[in-house]
């Protein structure tokens, strides 16, 4: 494994206690050029995670708090008439940043949501007929509060598909909680963080992810998983081809994180809950939070060929 990457993980784990799996998944998502959706209650460290990652990776960070009265221009930016020069000048919105934390994305109206999601998908912003590229790398961490849904617009399934992964943080375990309560203030810790990686190194890693070898045997496995979701009577819809591509990209990044140059079935299994949980829906119409369980079921239902 490349050293800077290990350093990133180590440093992040010092601040975010007891969540090694989630940190790795978040990094995987970043390395695979996907975007991340965190669905959890307030106060479990969603914002902190985003902060720590941006500081550790040395990325520009912007946090956008979504509200119901927000307009697309509030995110993308707006052209304002200049009295002196007599023309319009574009004032870039907060989205022009390498790392975005879109907090409580379900509070905004669908119109604003789709402005964000389009930018995510196309890595560019088109406003008043002019197309402006977004900085690179561009990584969005969106958060959604699953409870207290009154007056919110939960992302529809088609929009959820734009996120490579959805993860949950959950409560810390007893040891981590004790560390958190007795330790230094997290904000101070974040302020002291030093970038462990150059942006160029991050680009390099993202390039490496694409080169991680995938054998025909592994593709068989991925296809078996996709086929199962489409043929089984358990799911409302099968996984889309885009989901399949995301799964493979995430598995490659995971393998790279684990220091391997080829993907093995365990990599696929590790990222599958993150990649599939928000895309699968049980026919029995239970709560969406069961996605994780469904993904586990899926893993156990498909034999490795």
């Amino acid at each position: 494994m490349s050293n800077p990457l290990q350093n990133v993980i180590t440093q992040t784990e010092q601040v975010i206690l007891g969540k090694p799996q989630q940190i790795r998944l978040a990094l995987t998502c970043l390395l695979a050029r996907g975007h991340l959706l965190i669905e959890d209650m307030p106060g479990v460290g969603k914002t902190t995670l985003a902060h720590v990652l941006s500081s550790t990776l040395g990325l520009q960070f912007q946090r956008i708090q979504f509200t119901s009265d927000m307009l697309p221009a509030d995110i993308l930016g707006v052209s304002i008439y200049q009295r002196e020069s007599g023309d319009f000048k574009f004032h870039a919105g907060p989205i022009f940043s390498q790392m975005i934390l879109a907090d409580e994305v379900n509070r905004a109206t669908p119109k604003t949501q789709s402005a964000l999601l389009e930018a995510m998908e196309e890595h560019q912003v088109t406003s008043e007929g002019e197309t402006r590229p977004l900085p690179s790398p561009f990584f969005v961490i969106a958060t959604q509060n699953p409870t207290n849904q009154i007056g919110t617009f939960p992302l529809p399934e088609s929009q959820l598909d734009r996120f490579m992964m959805r993860i949950q943080l959950g409560y810390p375990d007893a040891v981590a909680e004790r560390g958190l309560l007795s330790g230094v203030d997290r904000r101070d810790l974040i302020a002291d963080l030093k970038p462990q990686m150059q942006t160029s190194e991050l680009f390099e890693l993202q390039q490496q992810v694409r080169k991680v070898f995938v054998s025909p045997a592994l593709l068989d496995y991925v296809q078996a998983i996709l086929r199962h979701t489409r043929e089984s009577a358990r799911f409302v819809h099968g996984l889309s081809p885009r989901a399949g591509l995301s799964l493979l990209a995430a598995a490659r990044a995971w393998a790279l994180l684990a220091g391997r140059d080829a993907v093995i079935p365990e990599d696929v299994q590790a990222v599958l809950p993150g990649v599939a949980s928000h895309r699968l829906q049980s026919v029995h119409d239970t709560q969406a939070s069961d996605g994780e369980k469904l993904a586990r079921e899926l893993i156990e239902a498909v034999a490795i060929p």
Partner: protein
């Protein structure tokens, strides 16, 4: 699962298919109402409009039930039950709100399938119901799986149906049969057409317009010639001027047959006709089922025959029947209504004067009269008045077998010769595919019996004197306008005949083996299969064993699809290793990757840890990394071969 329009269409189709055959016997307004409700429902599904409000549905339901109660004058009984079931199921479609409602509709459709067999148990009905069941299953699959394509739903339904066939065969063959129907079907379940216990002009000719099968006969040995095949039915004694009736026998003594030859044995499969008569060749000796032989050699069963009945019978073709008939009976055979038909009486008196002591000669005179008197054999004789016999004998001279048999007996009685009318069937259509004879209603016939002292009762068929072809080759050869006859009695082209015979042979097999599969047939069949101790318990055990075997076979077939056949050499070696570990109680889970498996074994058996990690790494290298080299594979093979626990 949402109740989509497509699903609704499927459910509408279920109810429509399953209740369509009922349209024939439902009140017309019920059929119309159901049709309208289905159309309405389809329109609602198509336009996506809301379902009707509760009060409206309730109103329609209450009104419909009241209307049914009014038109049937009852809310109990089979007809009413079926009508209610269909109407309410159709209404249920207008109440589809949750998946539960749809499930109920599916199960209701399955239930209504059964009710169709109350009315018809023929092969077409069974086939139609099979198709209906397929549609119902497809809707059910739709309900269970949601967004599956129509074709694959139908395919799953079909597979389910096919899988059910062997199971239902086992249940059908081995399920212990109870004597009689499982629950008594009411009498009106059966069409009743056939010979009645009276005969008046028109009875027989009307009956001969029906193509319906009366019974089928299989002879053990060669069949007798056609002109000797008189299937004896009700014997009629009492005449009131127009109608011949059975009346009451004046004796209880069973008829006696003397000077008989060897009996002729055969099997009769009699269609239900709701009367008590059983049919056998003149003269019957004994039957294999419970029966009673009347003094005039008529066979009666204990109860009206409302189920298809099979029996073996023995008959004597040569006999002297009751040469010592009691005088009260002979008196009955001479009785005539007073003051009617003077011309006939005069004719008879003339003959009597010519042959004062020779009854047989008088019989010959009557037959000669019919033969040479310009009589015509026709299906459409003119109507007759009060002195029907006179009008027929001296004016119209056109008649069917009942006219001839009736006036023949009348003339003989008038001349003082004891005689009676016998009704039944004559002849039979040979089906060479099934090697049996079919007797249809169109073969119904009436003839006469004359008592000639020492010689007993002798059969005379006056029809043979006018139209011998009727007896020798059937109705169509004898009647002047065959177009009025039923199709099969009209000598259709040979290929249609063959088709009909094929179909009838099939229907006969169906009747004998499917519908007629009762305790007796089951016993015979299982004995032929080699089952020795045919008890209730044994059959149930065999049935369960059969079901378990079948389900086991299906399970194995399905499991085989889960087992991945392996052709990759690397994978083969890995699986060999997994089998080794499995033997020592550490099986690999199907979804467990090599690294996870190795680490699990390492935790369970720390001693193996290093070796396992090495093997897993080799396997991963060969299978998931691009190391396609023969040397590494050989090394992996050796390492696995050397691996010991």
């Amino acid at each position: 699962m949402k109740l989509t329009a497509q699903l609704t269409y499927g459910l509408i189709a279920c109810i429509l298919l399953v209740s369509a055959p009922h349209a024939e016997h439902l009140p017309i307004w019920v059929s119309a109402e159901c049709g309208a409700l289905l159309l309405w429902r389809a329109y609602l599904a198509r336009s996506g409009k809301a379902l009707p409000p509760r009060w409206l549905l309730l109103g329609i339901t209450v009104l419909s039930v009241l209307a049914i109660a009014f038109s049937f004058r009852s809310l109990f009984g089979r007809e009413v039950g079926v009508t209610l079931l269909i109407l309410l199921s159709t209404l249920k479609l207008l109440e589809l709100k949750a998946v539960r409602d749809a499930t109920i509709v599916v199960y209701l459709s399955c239930f209504i399938i059964i009710t169709n067999f109350f009315y018809s148990q023929s092969i077409p009905t069974a086939l139609f119901m099979l198709v209906t069941l397929l549609v119902i299953l497809a809707s059910w699959v739709h309900l269970q799986t949601g967004g599956l394509a129509f074709k694959s739903r139908l395919r799953i339904g079909g597979v389910l149906l096919l899988q059910a066939i062997p199971l239902s065969l086992i249940l059908f063959v081995l399920f212990p049969r109870v004597q009689g129907p499982l629950w008594g079907l009411p009498q009106d379940a059966y069409a009743s057409s056939g010979l009645s216990d009276s005969m008046s002009p028109g009875t027989m000719s009307k009956l001969s317009l029906s193509d319906a099968v009366a019974f089928r006969v299989t002879f053990d040995t060669a069949a007798p010639s056609r002109d000797r095949m008189y299937w004896r039915g009700p014997v009629l004694w009492d005449f009131d001027g127009t109608t011949w009736k059975r009346g009451r026998n004046a004796t209880t003594r069973t008829g006696i047959l003397e000077d008989t030859g060897m009996p002729l044995s055969y099997t009769v499969t009699l269609e239900p006709h709701n009367k008590r008569w059983l049919f056998a060749l003149d003269m019957p000796d004994k039957l294999s089922i419970k029966y009673r032989l009347t003094p005039d050699f008529q066979l009666l069963s204990e109860k009206p025959l409302n189920a298809r009945t099979r029996y073996r019978a023995d008959s004597f073709l040569n006999y002297r029947a009751n040469p010592d008939e009691p005088s009260q009976q002979l008196q009955r055979a001479l009785t005539l209504p007073r003051g009617l038909n003077p011309q006939a009486q005069q004719l008879a008196d003339n003959w009597r004067k010519q042959h004062p002591h020779d009854d047989a000669a008088i019989v010959r005179e009557v037959l000669r009269h019919f033969n040479q008197g310009g009589f015509e054999y026709t299906l459409e004789p003119p109507l007759l008045g009060m002195n029907g016999i006179d009008e027929f004998l001296f004016q119209s001279k056109q008649g069917f077998c009942e006219h001839y048999a009736g006036s023949f007996v009348y003339l003989l009685r008038a001349a003082g010769v004891p005689a009676r009318v016998v009704t039944g069937y004559q002849g039979g259509d040979y089906n060479d595919l099934g090697d049996y004879y079919i007797l249809r209603q169109s073969d119904a016939h009436a003839w006469a019996e004359v008592w000639l002292g020492e010689r007993g009762w002798i059969r005379y068929d006056p029809t043979a004197a006018i139209a011998p072809a009727r007896i020798e080759s059937g109705l169509s050869a004898a009647v002047s306008n065959p177009a009025a006859l039923p199709f099969m009695a009209r000598n259709p082209p040979p290929w249609i005949r063959a088709l009909r015979f094929n179909w009838d042979a099939l229907a006969n097999q169906w009747n004998q083996w499917v519908l007629g599969y009762d305790t007796e047939t089951q016993f015979a069949f299982l004995t032929r299969l080699g089952m020795e101790d045919i008890s209730w318990k044994n059959m149930a055990l065999n049935m369960l064993a059969g079901i378990f075997t079948l389900v086991g076979i299906f399970t194995l077939l399905m499991l085989r699809r889960l087992v991945v056949r392996q052709t990759d050499p690397v994978q083969a070696v890995w699986l060999k290793l997994c089998r080794k570990l499995e033997k020592s109680g550490l099986p690999r889970l199907a979804h467990e990757g090599p690294q996870d498996y190795a680490s699990r074994i390492g935790t369970a058996h720390p001693a193996l840890s290093e070796h396992m990690d090495d093997l897993a790494a080799r396997y991963i290298g060969l299978r998931y990394q691009s190391q396609h080299d023969e040397g590494a594979l050989q090394a992996f093979k050796h390492a696995v071969a050397a691996f010991k626990l």
